[in-house]
Amino acid sequence: MIRHALLVLAVTIGVPAHADPSQNPVEVLKELINSVDSAYLTQSDQNLMMMEDNPALWTVEEGKALFHAQRGPKNVSLETCDFGMGPGKLEGAYAAMPRYFKDTGKVMDLETRLVHCMTTIQGFPADDPAVKQRHGSDTDHMKLQSYITAQSNGMPWNPLMDHPLEKAMRDAGEVIFYRRAGSLDMSCQTCHGTTGKRIRASVLPDVNVPQEWTKAISWPAFRVGHQETRSSQHRLRGCYWQMRQAGPVAGSPATIAVLSFWTDMARGQPAILPDMKR
């Protein structure tokens, strides 16, 4: 009950009425489920029920406080950080990431952009725990990422592809997605290239079905099996581990290329942020 009250609080603050980030993400998911016949989307009634009180909504709240707090050696907030829509403008920003940033000359995902702002604006050293620790609901990263992404809840994924580097990274990401390597000859396609297939007991999302793929790429999500809020980069690392390939470096260009492709494959479908996963 308390959680419910908090949820209402969490989603009513500072969000204009015309967009829909204020919707409970579970409603976005339910609309998707009604729009398509998908074994992946419907595999867990239990998760659907639990999502009403998704613990990741707390992480969003904590991230909100952290985002606006004056922190770091320079004692300033992140309110001047530009995630692509202008300084401090968060609404819909994540749905268009990864994207090209003029100030760094690079295509950046949310995690690397956050690192950029924490180190340049707030003056955190790169090895400060606030910057370095990426995994777990208690890290600054998961809190901030959860808050920033929640401002794109319900909005269609819309990576720009205006700058040549955005297109180049997306296209390289596609090649990487289909590139078989490692001990087991696997690529991402092995497990995410057909509809309704199971690895063990889990139904896997199909990259070719945008209504499934939007849920697949909606991170941060609370992972019930881990009892933690997890990021896109964490998911990617897990899949490379299963494939018996090399461990990806978070925020590295290859990971951003994959994220560029995976976001493009969900284009037009509403983001579910924060989500809940197995």
Binding site: G105, A168, R180, R244, Q245, A246, G247
Partner: protein
């Protein structure tokens, strides 16, 4: 050997691309200042190779369980390269070449193909241990690597397996525990591209992932009349 050559080739063409750019009076970007090639001028394939092998995107120096490093895992062999390129749909000519190469890769035990211990084979078929790297590398000195079969196949009626591959429930009853079946199953485990070019199924024998003993045990799990698979 081949894959290393092509890899060098990709790097060379990337280098060439940046030379062409400089000569072309191109305005320098941040990337170029740092001495990196211009991603926007590379083909998606060349950029992908560059990102994977030359950009520090992966922990390529991590030691691999089979010897060598994670870098060797990321460099594609001929089969991986071809199947990736055609997205696992080879044309008739390519399929013929893949099948021939796969057949040539298969090494057989001396004499008849043996069945091992189906109980051990069950553990191996249902296990996912082995060859994982990254943040949580498998230590092969504690345990032998397993077969991962359950990820893709239904096996015994008691447990849920995956369905990326066909159900193997009752396999021994349906196929019969004959020399011909044993040969087929051995070849499938060793290198399934001999029958299904660009299949999703791994090459457990050809890549040295499973020992002869482990293969024999897993075969027993599929074919032995007392195995849960055949109840």
């Amino acid at each position: 050997m081949m894959s290393r050559k092509t890899n060098r080739c990709a790097t060379a063409s990337a280098a060439l691309a940046s030379i062409v750019l400089i000569l072309g009076g191109y305005t320098a970007t941040h990337a170029e200042e740092a001495g990196k090639p211009d991603y926007a001028k590379m083909s998606p394939e060349a950029l992908a190779e560059h990102l994977i092998l030359e950009s520090g995107s992966f922990d390529l120096d991590q030691p691999a369980q089979e010897g060598g490093t994670a870098r060797d895992r990321m460099i594609q062999d001929n089969l991986q390269k071809l199947c990736s390129k055609v997205r696992n749909k080879p044309n008739a000519e390519q399929a013929g070449q893949i099948i021939a190469a796969a057949r040539a890769s298969i090494q057989y035990p001396e004499g008849e193909i043996p069945l091992g211990d189906w109980k051990k084979g069950g553990d191996l078929a249902w296990g996912g241990f082995g060859y994982r790297l990254a943040h949580n590398p498998d230590d092969h000195s504690t345990r032998d690597p397993s077969g991962n079969c359950y990820n893709c196949h239904a096996l015994s009626p008691q447990r849920t397996g995956g369905d990326l591959g066909p159900s193997l429930r009752g396999y021994g009853i349906i196929r019969g525990n004959t020399e011909a079946t044993r040969r087929f199953v051995y070849e499938m485990i060793y290198n399934p591209h001999a029958y299904f070019p660009c299949t999703h199924m791994p090459r457990m024998g050809a890549k040295g992932l499973l020992s002869q003993e482990a293969i024999a045990d897993i075969m027993a799990y599929l074919l032995h009349p007392e195995s849960p698979v055949n109840q």
